[in-house]
Symmetry: none
Subunit: 412 residues, 2 copies
Amino acid sequence: MTAEIISVGTEILLGQIVDTNAAILGELFANLGIRHVHRQTVGDNQLRLTEALKLALSRADIVITIGGLGPTMDDMTRDGISAALGEEMVLDEGVQTTLKELFASRGLTWTETQNRQAMRPVCATPIPNPFGTAPGLICKKNGKTFIAMPGPKQEFEPMAKTSVREALMSAGGGEQIIHSVVVRVAGMGESIVEEKLKDLMMAEQPTVAPYAKQAEVHLRVTASGSDIAAAEKLIAPTVAVIQARLGHHVYGFGDTTLEEAVVNQLLESGKTLTVAESCTGGLFGGRITSVPGSSSVFLGGFLTYSNSSKQELLGVGALTLKAVGAVSPECASEMALGARRQLDADFAVSITGIAGPGGGSEEKPVGLVYIGIADREGCEVKEFKLRGSRETVRLRATQVALVFLRSRLMGS
Amino acid sequence: MTAEIISVGTEILLGQIVDTNAAILGELFANLGIRHVHRQTVGDNQLRLTEALKLALSRADIVITIGGLGPTMDDMTRDGISAALGEEMVLDEGVQTTLKELFASRGLTWTETQNRQAMRPVCATPIPNPFGTAPGLICKKNGKTFIAMPGPKQEFEPMAKTSVREALMSAGGGEQIIHSVVVRVAGMGESIVEEKLKDLMMAEQPTVAPYAKQAEVHLRVTASGSDIAAAEKLIAPTVAVIQARLGHHVYGFGDTTLEEAVVNQLLESGKTLTVAESCTGGLFGGRITSVPGSSSVFLGGFLTYSNSSKQELLGVGALTLKAVGAVSPECASEMALGARRQLDADFAVSITGIAGPGGGSEEKPVGLVYIGIADREGCEVKEFKLRGSRETVRLRATQVALVFLRSRLMGS
C-alpha cells in the first residue's frame, strides 16, 4: 500500500509558509504501515494540479491533497480532482445546509460564493470539518483511495487524526509499520546528551535521533515491526537505557509537554502554585494554564511588569528596587515571597530579567534572568544568562523556570 | 526562467522533519524573479530520485536538489544525478584534498567511505561548503542549470544565501521579480473580507490572496516588476483600495502583529493598560509584553484563575460568583473594574470563559467567553462564542480581546 501527498498552494512554493501539514500526514502513514514514496507541491494552478493528480494516481494507491478547498477563486482543488478523475461536479445539499446553518449561527451573511465549498465530484463523500467551513472529500475509484483535506492547520490536524486516520486504516495498512517513541529531555544540553548516548545513536534498530528544541532535547527512537507492539518491544530496552543514563532529565514521552509534567507533579503531591512574572509578562502562567485540569493547582498570579506594580501587588521594597534594581536576586526573592503570601500557595515562582532588545547594560546584559522559587520555608533564587531574541529569551526564561520548579518538586 | 526543487530524504516523507530548506529556496526564487512551479520530495531511493530528476529536467530550467550528499550508503543524490544526466562519476581531487585536510585538522581518521563525498558527475563543479563536509555541486548542460545542495540547515542556509544565490543570478534570474506586501485585518471574517474585495481578488496584477489566521485575515498583495520599487508601485493603489474598503479593520502591514498595533495606539494616546485574566491564564499579558517598549503602557496584571483569587485580588463579589458564576458578564465587569482600580490604569481588560475540554454545560458551553473593558467611566462587556480546541479557544479569546480594545481605543 503506497501513498502520495500533493500539497497545493502558491504560498508554499513562494516559501511564505512551511509545509508542516505534510509532515503530520507523513508520520500518520508511517504509523499505519503505509509506504509514503512521493510528495508533490504545486501552486494554485488548475492545469498543473490536474497533471500532478494524474501522475500520483498512476503510481500510488492512496492520494491525499492538502489545501485549496476554500471558497475563493484560487481554491481550485475541487476542480482539479474533478478533471483528474473525470468526474462531474455536483452541489452537495447536505454540506450546503450545514454551511448555511453555520453562517446563520455566526451572524454572517450567506453569499453565493460559499456554494463553491459545497461542490464535490460525483464519486466523493464529504468529510465533516468541525473547525472550519470547507469539508474534506473522500472518493474511492478503480481501487484507489482519494482524499482532499483543508489547508489551515487548525482544520487539517483534527481531520488527519480522526476521519482520515480511520479511512486510511480501513483502506488497509501495510505489513511493516514504522513506529517511533519520542523521549523528552530538559535541563541538559544537546552535546552532553549526544555524548552520553553516542553508542545508541550509532545503532541500526532501533535508531536514536536527537532534535534540539528551545532549551530541550527530543530523542526520537524508531523501529520497524509487524505492528506497533512489535516495534515497541524493540524500542523499550533503548528507552530504558536512555532513562538510566539521563535520569530525571527525562521528563516525559510523546507529546507530553514540560508544563504538563510539572502540573502532574503538583497534582500528585497535592501542592498549589502561584507566579509573579516580570519580563515574561504572562507566558509562564499561559503555559501552566494550557494544561487541562491546572485549575486544581494553579491559584492565580501577578504580572508585575512595572516597578510600582511590584511594590503595590507583591510588597517588593522601594529600597530594594533603588539599591539593586528590579533585575536582581533580591527582587526575584521578594517577588516570589510576596506572591506566595498573597495567595497562600505552597510554591511561588518569580521571573525577572532583561528580555531585550533594549534595556541591557554591561553589568546587566540582555538575557540576564533571575528565577525565584518560594515555599513556606523561604526562597531560592537562580541566575541565568539566556541567549537569543526577545521572544527566545522570554520563552527560555519560562523553560528554565519550569525545569527549576520540576527539580524542586522532585526534591533534588 | 522556471525552477524546481527536489527534496531528498526518507526522514522528510516519514514526517520526522519539516522541510524548511525548501521554503528558504522558494523565497529566494521569488526574490530573484524565478518562477517556482513544482516541488517534489522523494526518499533515499536512487531509482525514484533519478525519475524525479528526469521529470524536473523535462519541465524546468533550473533544478535544485536538497539533501542526500553525505558519506553514507543512503546518501545517493550524486548517483541519481549521474544517472539522470547520463554523466560518468569522477573523483574530484581538489575536494578530496580539502576533506583530508579538514579531517586531519579535526583529529578524525580518514576512511575510504569519505571518498564518496569527493565524487561528482564529470560536468559538475563543486560548491564550497564552509560549514560541513559535503560540497554542493553545480552543473550546466543543454541549457539547463543543475544544483545539488546539502540538507543540514546550518550548511544549506549559508550556501543558499551566497554561492547558490550568485549562481541563480548569473543563470539569468529573471527580468521580472515577485514582491509582496501583506495587509493584516482583524475583527472581520474571511468571507466578508472576500466579499468586499472580490474584484481585487480576481485581478491578475497585482494579485490579492487571503490567508485565514486565528481570528484574523492576512491579505498578500503580490506584483511582479523589473525590481522591488516597480512592483511596489503596482501594489500601492490596491493596498489603498483595501484600506478604504475595510477601514479600521486593517490594523497593520508586513510582520506587524495585532498586539503591536494595540501597544502603539496606547503609546500614541498616552494611555496605560492592565489586565485580569482567568481562562487565558497569562496569554493576553504575554502577547502585550512581547512588544518591545510595552513597559511604557502595560502596568501589570492579574492571573485570577481561581474564584478565591478573583475575590482577593480584584474584589469580585462572593454573591456574584454564587449567583451567576465566574463565567458571566457580571464577573467580567467586576474583574475589569477591580484590576483598573488596583493599578490606577486608564484601561483594564478582563477575560473569563470556558476553554475546555471539560467544564462546559448546556447553559455555558465550552468556548463561551466574556471580555470586559473598563475605563474611568465604567465597564463594557461583550460575549463571544469561540470554537476549537482548548488552545484555540484561549488564543482566540486573547485575539477578540485585542480587537475589542483596539476598537475602543479608536473610539468606535
